[in-house]
């Protein structure tokens, strides 16, 4: 039952997203543009290789923001959130459903951008794809959980004017930082063993945030 509710929510979000391709298109376009703009901004930099991980994750973070912002905003349209909240689905199921949908969308955007990135910046990915996808999965889940939580918080009108954006971004920094370091080193061919600590940071963050959010999301969603 719980799983079915999660799935219903996720399927609904994915379906309406697929119908308009709003967030998806926007964020793929956005990440392309970021990649292009970066190349302008940094064409003087010689050691571009050292920047690649940072560049990639910045593009992901900003493109992802578009997907995540839409996520709960979609529920505001006809006060759909009211209907969701008054349904028997527990808030954590609503949250997980939306998070799953966001995760799928983000991964799709990231994979597309990764291909473009590899061509544009002449990065050879073969042989590194396994580890890279591990990093991507972990970091993307982190971004998704934080972003979805954030978007749930902002959906409550009275809370919106608070300093939320100021509060939330700092949370993203650890995840992004770990992902950046891991990716840069992966691309440069540094063995993962030297960076195990960052991988652990990612895993720890994911678990901690998911647990806390699932536990306390009722508080956030029901005003």
């Amino acid at each position: 039952m719980y799983l079915r509710q999660i799935w219903t929510i996720a399927a609904k979000d994915l379906r309406s997203e697929m119908r308009t391709k709003e967030a998806l298109n926007a964020s793929v376009a956005f990440s392309m543009v970021i990649l292009i703009l970066f190349s302008f901004a940094f064409d003087q930099a010689e050691d571009l290789k050292g920047l690649l991980g940072g560049l990639l994750w910045l593009a992901y973070a900003f493109a992802g923001a578009l997907v995540l912002n839409r996520s709960f905003a979609r529920e505001l349209q006809n006060d759909c959130l009211d209907a969701l909240i008054s349904s028997p689905a527990p808030p954590s199921a609503i949250f997980l459903g939306k998070a799953l949908a966001n995760f799928a969308l983000l991964m799709a955007v990231e994979l597309i951008s990764l291909g473009v990135f590899a061509i544009l910046y002449d990065v050879r990915l073969s042989g590194k794809l396994g580890l890279l996808s591990l990093v991507m999965l972990l970091a993307t889940w982190g971004i998704t959980v934080i972003g979805t939580t954030f978007s749930a918080l902002t959906v409550n009108l009275t809370m919106r004017e608070l300093m939320l954006p100021v509060l939330i971004y700092p949370f993203l920094i650890p995840v992004l930082m770990s992902a950046m370091i891991l990716t840069t080193d992966l691309i440069a061919g540094v063995p993962i063993a030297t960076n195990l600590v960052w991988l652990r940071v990612l895993v720890a963050f994911d678990i901690a945030f998911t647990a806390v959010t699932v536990l306390y999301i009722d508080v956030v969603l029901v005003g």
């Binding site: 039952m1 079915r4 509710q5 219903t8 929510i9 399927a11 609904k12 379906r15 309406s16 119908r19 308009t20 979609r74 349209q77 006809n78 006060d79 759909c80 009211d82 209907a83 969701l84 909240i85 008054s86 349904s87 028997p88 689905a89 527990p90 029901v222 005003g223």
Partner: protein
């Protein structure tokens, strides 16, 4: 089979403004209550609190003695607010099926079809809600609220934008609910449409209950009687 509702000492403040002041009343199982009052009286605020969508500043609301927010209770409640609460990007059928499966209905798809026929949207079941006219959207929202056959219905101005045919359908649906002993609370300004159905009337005046009791025959004959008698002007 049917739910009782008890509102006890509810206050709701928006900032300093008291939208509800010490509102208390009981809804007996199986009654149809018309929640009346002027614009800004507090009907919507009260209905949202009864539905658990908003917390009272003071006081409590109990559905059959339990919190409205409990999942078991929520399954038995149907809510229709000001806004239609359906997804613009989904078709009418997808909308209902989706809500059906959130409520754990096994035959969500079939029920959705039946409901769409009922509210007169059968022919446009695959049309996106975004493309519907105002009345068609309201019909869809009504379908959503009735879909899981709730034991307690909370409706905020359900007759809005409906044409004569749709009003007749909604009245029939409400009558069936009443006859099956379900409980209904609805706010409205379309008194004629509502009075026929209702067994009880609760009249809110500036956030306070000014009248609460059975529907009287005067109310049927002369809809402004209530406002004249219990309203302060």
């Amino acid at each position: 089979m049917s739910l009782a509702l008890e509102v006890a000492g509810v206050y709701k403040f928006f900032g300093d403004f008291p939208a509800l002041r010490d509102v208390s009343f009981k809804v007996a199982p199986g009654s149809v209550v018309a929640l009346l009052g002027r614009n800004g009286a507090g009907k919507t605020t009260l209905l949202r609190i009864m539905a658990g969508l908003s917390q009272p500043s003071q006081g409590s609301v109990k559905v059959n003695g339990a919190e409205a927010r409990e999942a078991g209770t929520r399954r038995r409640i149907g809510v229709l607010g000001h806004s239609i609460s359906v997804y613009d990007e989904l078709s009418a059928h997808e909308n209902l099926t989706m809500f059906g499966s959130l409520y754990g209905l096994d035959d969500a798809g079939k029920r959705a079809d039946a409901m769409l026929d009922r509210v007169g949207l059968g022919r446009v079941r695959d049309g996106l809600a975004r493309e519907f006219s105002r009345g068609m959207r309201q019909r869809l929202a009504i379908g959503r609220a009735f879909l899981h056959d709730p034991e307690l219905l909370l409706l905020d101005e359900p007759f809005t934008s409906l044409d004569d045919k749709a009003i007749a359908v909604l009245q029939t649906m409400l009558k069936e609910m009443r006859d099956r002993g379900r409980t209904v609370v609805m706010s409205t300004h379309q008194l004629r449409e509502a009075m026929e159905l209702s067994t009880h009337v609760t009249f809110i005046q500036r956030g306070e209950v000014a009248y609460d009791g059975e529907r009287q025959d005067e109310m049927l004959k002369d809809t402004s009687w209530l406002y004249r008698t219990y309203g302060d002007n």
